[in-house]
Symmetry: C2
Subunit: 285 residues, 2 copies
C-alpha cells in the first residue's frame, strides 16, 4: 500500500497509473505535480488526483512513492527540483522509454546513483496523450521493465514491483543497455518509420488525394505517427545510438529487398515476405 | 442486376464480393472458379457461391459478369483461359492492386485492349486471406477505383460501377499510371516497410525476447506483415517502378531524419514529427 503517491507529469502514463492504483485500492492519497496548473486542475476534476502542487519540491514532501512521467528531456530538471525535498524512505521511479539517459540524469542531479531510485518503463500507451486520454486498464496484462543498478536498494525495487503488479502488469528486470536496444527495435524504430512515411506522403503534391485512397492497412500502420512529437523527439535524442544502429540494420534489409524488386527476383521477395509473415503470425498468436 | 456472376479466385476479395452481392440481392447465380477444388468446395459449403467449375473456360460460359480476383502473377493465364469462352455482352473486371500490369496482361492475351474489360481495384482488405476470411461488409463505405481506357465500353464501366455501388462502395475513376503511383505510396510502400521491419527483427538473435516486449503500437504497425506473401510478391513485381520511386523518396526522408538524430538536432526532429502527426490526425478525422 502506498500512503501518498506523487505523480509528476499527469498525462496518459501518469494519469493512468494514478487511476489504476486508486481502483486497485493500492494508494491512500494522490498528489499531482507539474508546471501546468490547467492540466492539473483538469486531473482533479476527472478524479485522477486528489490535489496538486505546481512546486515540485513541495509536491513530493511526505510522499512515500514518486512516479516521474515527463518527457525524457524534462527528467533532469525534475530530479534537480525534488532532490532536497524527498521524505526519508521515499522511493522514486519513472516511466521513461529510454533508461540510460534517465540514469545519467539522476546521477548528474544527485552526484551519484541513489539507492532510492528505480528506473522503470511500462510497455504500454496509445497514440493519444494528456490526462483526458488516461484510463485505469492501461497496464492490465502489459509488461513493465525495471532496470535496477548495483546501487539500487532491493526494497525499493520490491515496492515498485508491487505497485505495478497491483495494477495488473507483469514486471521483468533487465539491464539498462539491453532495455534500450530492445526498445529501439520494437518501439523507437517503428515510430520513426511511421513518422517518416506520413511526412513523405504529406509533402507529395497530391497529398490530400493520396490520403483519400488509403485503406485500413495504412490506418493501422501509421497510427503511431499521431503520437506526441515532443516525447518522441526526446526518445530519439536520448536513445540515439541504439536507434541509429537499428536504422542501419533496417536500411541494409530494405536495400536488399529493393535490389530484389529491381532485379524482379520473385523468389527472394517471396522468401523475405514469407519469413516476415511467419514471424508476425507467431507474435500475434 | 447480375444474372450470373463468375468469380475467378474465391478468396477474401472475391468471396466477400460474392457474399455482398448476394446479400444486396444484386445477383441471381454465382459460379466460383479456380484451379483448386478444395477451396471451391469450401466456398460452396459456406454459401459464398452456388456451384463451381475448375475449368475456367466452362465456368465463364453464360456469365454476364466475371470478376477476376487472383494474384497479379496469375492474371495473364486466366485471361488466356477465358478469352474464347465469354458469352456475348459479358463484362470482365478485376480486383488487382496494380493496374498497368493487368492491362498489359489482357492486352497480350486478347491481342488488343478489349472494350468489355474494366480494370478495377477495391481499396479494401485485411491481413487475412482465403474464403474463410471473406465477409459481406468488406466493401461497405470503402473506395473502389476503376481505370477505364479509351477502348473501354462506357456501358461496361456503368455495369461494374453499379455492382460496386450495390455493395456499399464509392467508385472513382482515374488513369492507370496515377492509380499505380497513389497505391505505391499508400499501400505498397507501407507493406514493404512492415515486412522488412519484422524480417529485420526476426533475424536478430534475441528475436523471441524482442517480440515479447513489443506493445500495441508494434502490433498495429506490423499487422500488414501478416498479409499473403504471394499476393505481395506479385504486387512488387508488377508495380516495381512506382514502388522503387516511392522507396527512393522514403529513403531520402529517412536519411534526413537519421542525420538529424546523429546531429542531435532536436528542432529538426520535432518539426518532422509534428508535421507527420498533423497530417495523420487530419487523415484520421
Amino acid at each position: 500500500m502506498i500512503e501518498r503517491l506523487c505523480v509528476i507529469g499527469v498525462g496518459l502514463i501518469g494519469g493512468s497509473l494514478a487511476r489504476a492504483l486508486r481502483d486497485a485500492g493500492h494508494v491512500r492519497e494522490i498528489v499531482g505535480a507539474s508546471r501546468n496548473p490547467v492540466h492539473l486542475q483538469r486531473a482533479v476534476e476527472l478524479g485522477v488526483i486528489d490535489r496538486f502542487d505546481t512546486d515540485l519540491a513541495s509536491a513530493v514532501q511526505g510522499a512515500d512513492m514518486i512516479f516521474v512521467s515527463v518527457p525524457l528531456g524534462a527528467m533532469g530538471a525534475v530530479f534537480r527540483s525534488i532532490r532536497d525535498a524527498l521524505t526519508d524512505g521515499a522511493v522514486v521511479t519513472d516511466g521513461g522509454s529510454v533508461k540510460a539517459s534517465v540514469v545519467a540524469d539522476i546521477s548528474e542531479a544527485i552526484g551519484e546513483i541513489p539507492s532510492w531510485f528505480v528506473p522503470g518503463h511500462p510497455i504500454a500507451g496509445t497514440e493519444q496523450s494528456g490526462v483526458d486520454a488516461s484510463f485505469s486498464e492501461l497496464y492490465k496484462d502489459r509488461r513493465v521493465i525495471l532496470t535496477p543498478l548495483a546501487e539500487t536498494d532491493a526494497t525499493a525495487v520490491s515496492r515498485v514491483r508491487a505497485m505495478w503488479e497491483a495494477v495488473g502488469a507483469t514486471v521483468s528486470e533487465m539491464d539498462v543497455k539491453h532495455h534500450d536496444e530492445v526498445l529501439a527495435a520494437t518501439s523507437h524504430l517503428p515510430h520513426i518509420l511511421a513518422y517518416t512515411l506520413v511526412e513523405s506522403l504529406a509533402r507529395m503534391s497530391e497529398q490530400r488525394e493520396i490520403f483519400e485512397y488509403a485503406a485500413g492497412g495504412f490506418r493501422d500502420f501509421t497510427r503511431i505517427a499521431s503520437s506526441d512529437p515532443v516525447m518522441w523527439r526526446d526518445i530519439c535524442l536520448a536513445n540515439g545510438e541504439a536507434v541509429l544502429n537499428m536504422l542501419e540494420r533496417f536500411n541494409r534489409d530494405l536495400a536488399s529487398l529493393s535490389e530484389a524488386i529491381r532485379a524482379s527476383d520473385g523468389d527472394r521477395i517471396l522468401q523475405i515476405f514469407s519469413e516476415a509473415k511467419s514471424a508476425r503470425d507467431g507474435f500475434a498468436g
